[in-house]
Amino acid sequence: MTRRKRMLAELDQDIRNHLERETQDNIDRGMSPEDARYAALHKFGNVTRVKEETWKVWNPVWLEQLLQDVRFGIRTLLRSPGLTVAAVMAIALGIGINVGIFSVLNGLAMRLLPVPRAQELVSVNQIFHFQGRGDRLIHNGANWFSYSEYQDYRDHNHVFSGLVAYEPYVEANLRDTDVRQVLGTVTSCNYFDVLIERPAQGRGFVGSDCASHGANAVVVVSDDLWRGKFAADPSLVGKQIVLNQTAYTVIGVARPGFTGTEPIPSAFWAPLTMQQALEPRIDRLSSDNMSWLALLGRTRPGVTMQEVRADLGVIARRIDQQHSGPRRTTSLAIHAATFFTSPEQRSFLIPVASVVLAAFALVLLIACANVANLLLARASVRQREMALRLSMGAGRWRLVRQLLTESLLLSIAGGALGSIIAFWSFIRITQVVTSHLPHDFPPFAVNVAPNLHVLAYALALSLFTGIAFGLVPALRSSRLDLNSAIKGDGTPFGAGKRSGRFLLNTLVGSQVSVCMVLLLAAGLLLRGLYSAQTVDPGFEIKGVATIFLNLEKQGYDPARATHFMRRFRERIQGLPGVVDVAQAECAPLSHDFSGSEFAVSGRADTVGVEYNHITPDYFSLLGIPIVLGRDFSPVETHEAPGIIVTESTARRLWPGQDPLGKALREISGREYSVIGVAKDAQVAHLGKLDTNYLYFPAGTEDDSRSYVLVRYATGFTSLAKSIRDAGRSIDPGVTVDVTRLEDYLEVWRAPSRIVAALSGALGALALLLCSIGVYGMVSYSVSRSVRDIGIRMALGADGAKVMRHVLWQAMRPVLIGATIGVALCAAVSGVLSSMMFGLGTHDPVAFICMPLFLFAVAFVATFIPGRRAMRVDPMIALRCE
């Protein structure tokens, strides 16, 4: 027993003792027992008040009332378990999915980096503002830094105990039994020290590793790479591995779970000074005008964000002054370091996140409306209770507080349940999503496990929800006409009063309209998915293998690359089952684009045109016909002036004219003339035909990095193996990446498929909640208007007529809500179609089917409780009232 409880329990006895003693004293002084007792009581004062005062010492009034409210609320909710379960389930669904999606966003954008004392780490980004034309080379991140800028910030700041620079996403070929490409990071040599990240084996970098350019070929490998590629070899540290033709000594294996400081895991870390060895012929270190290094600083203890901004701002201004060329000012964006910190990443994440959160919030809105409906219906049952309490002198505010406590109890229970379901089911959902991603999609190092942010969000959402659905019913049911309510003959609220019915109808109508929006969005996305699956890209996509070769990355000079390419293509040509071989700068739908600005004679402005360098057999291999003019001949190379444009490009650039012989001029002044027109095909962007596109003849310049396309008539697996063998027989160190051309289509379809699946699930959930809402409203109003129905039947209405009446009453708000929903969705579908491939803005099938589907469901939800109305016996109905 607590001190408080014990003290209060013994208070009565204490007071009794006191009074007895005082009485006894009085008797001793000669009073009669009655007088003595009276005097004692008089001297003591009001016993009840003393007790109350003493209670108050231990329990502040508000707390006591809150406990009262909670206790009473729990009792009330337990008395109507059906309603409670329904409400809690609805809220759990609504809050659960919102918490789930929030934990993903939290993992992406708000979770600190998974390293010790991560709260001290800040990410530094810079944004240039040029006066007039400015130029800056950008590699990976427009807001990143050059090496000299990094050194400046590192050496002259007063706020960091260490500043790290790194270049992520460095592609490297790991020479091994089966050669494969990995993504790694080159870092400044304080990387592991500043991050306080001790490798599990061996060591991290030390200063001397970065002492001179290209001299220290050492590498730390990730735990994943160590286990996956080196079979967890316990003696790997000290051995050599070959990355992009250079041998590196493994000095450490990173701790499991440390995947670097970017969302896509890094497989290895090499010193910054090895950059040129990893990326041959690109010297980033000495380029002072290139953004390629991401910066992470660890602040000294006690240094605030403002101090960091001020201190680095001084350095930024000095660099601006020293900068030669057009005048510029640099502003710094400094944030706590997370996986998504840079302004670029945020500008992508924020709109996507807001669309997703809005869609999920809509479901919660439906759930709220639903529960508000339930509570309103119940409020009419509790009318007498409320009236009684009001007439006994309870303040209205006190009643509202009591009712709000009840709704908060519901919402917190629902929120807790929903959050638990969300956390528990999340692993499964992530699995479903990742299983729909293309197989070579990079894994994300995102931790979606709940943390304080997520819990706070769940709690805030629960409280908000509780007030959102509880306030209106609470305000309504505490405002009563005492007289009629207490007599019990007042028309039940909601059934009779126009305003009450209006409120119910509004709630149902808004549920239906929100549900309509979600269903239509889901419908549009599903239609988009369907058209993505069945689209005709305009070329023969089946039976083509593509081989991507980046020989430059693998240490080839142009001459060797051309030599390799020629022999490689000869070998493939000779393989059994190979029908045709072509070479191109970009394979169709490979997400590999090139484009440039061209001047067209007779037009003042330049036009943007995407292009591809191809060998002559490209068109025949892909089955794209030349509709006008001729194909390239094998002797044409980069020097040839002839180009081939697509039909639609020709139409746009030279409407109504013969495109053959027309000229296009590059910015450099070089002029090309059209020698042929190819049929339109969606080779660059699936679902888009309105981009200008032209073909250049390929030359030996393309051999360093290009795709080889192979049309085959045998099985793919055996062909892929013999192609890889062919490559290896020429050079065992070369990476030959063979895929089916069809697989590229998958990459285009994957986003639509994931989004369609998610939105379909959301739509289904919305529909479920909404039909429960309609069902609840109808069954409530039927049970409330039994007398009304009885009178109608007594006056000669038959069951069918009553049914029509009930249906009309219920379907009216549904119709109005659905109309509003359709209008809303028509307004926002433009946003959706811009985000997703193959989506018609006003797809008629979606806009007709989804409303019909919703009406059918609403009809069923009305019909079931409506049947009860048909079976009302007028005699019983009238008598029982």
Binding site: L11, Q13, N17, T54
Partner: protein
């Protein structure tokens, strides 16, 4: 109760009851009735505590852990609750008494200027 009596008795200032209880308990553990009697007696009956108001005050002091409550047996062999000063309460008594002295001096100075120097 006669008029004369009423005039001579003084209503307690807010918070002074706490101080009086602490001071009284310095004499040793007592039960509630004894505390009120002691206050009346030691002030020559000038300070009349409304006995009931003792109890909220006692509980307030217990909550602050300045006094403790123990079950015990009273002089006439009856079970009663005995209140006793804790060490924290002793410190607090010194603090409160000091404050009170200051206050009393300050008020006296305002009411009877000049007398203070003589005293």
């Amino acid at each position: 109760m006669s008029t004369r009596e009423k005039n001579e008795r003084i209503e307690l200032l807010q918070g002074t009851l706490d101080l009086l209880i602490l001071r009284t308990l310095q004499l040793g553990p007592m039960h509630g009735h004894a505390i009120s009697k002691a206050i009346e007696f030691r002030s020559d009956d000038v300070l009349q505590v409304e006995q009931g108001s003792l109890y909220p005050a006692l509980h307030r002091l217990i909550k602050r852990r300045w006094i403790s409550a123990e079950d015990g047996t009273s002089e006439n062999n009856r079970r009663a609750k005995f209140y006793a000063l804790t060490s924290k309460g002793k410190q607090q008594l010194a603090v409160e008494a000091g404050k009170w002295d200051k206050l009393a001096r300050a008020i006296a100075q305002i009411l009877r200027p000049g007398e203070q120097e003589e005293a």
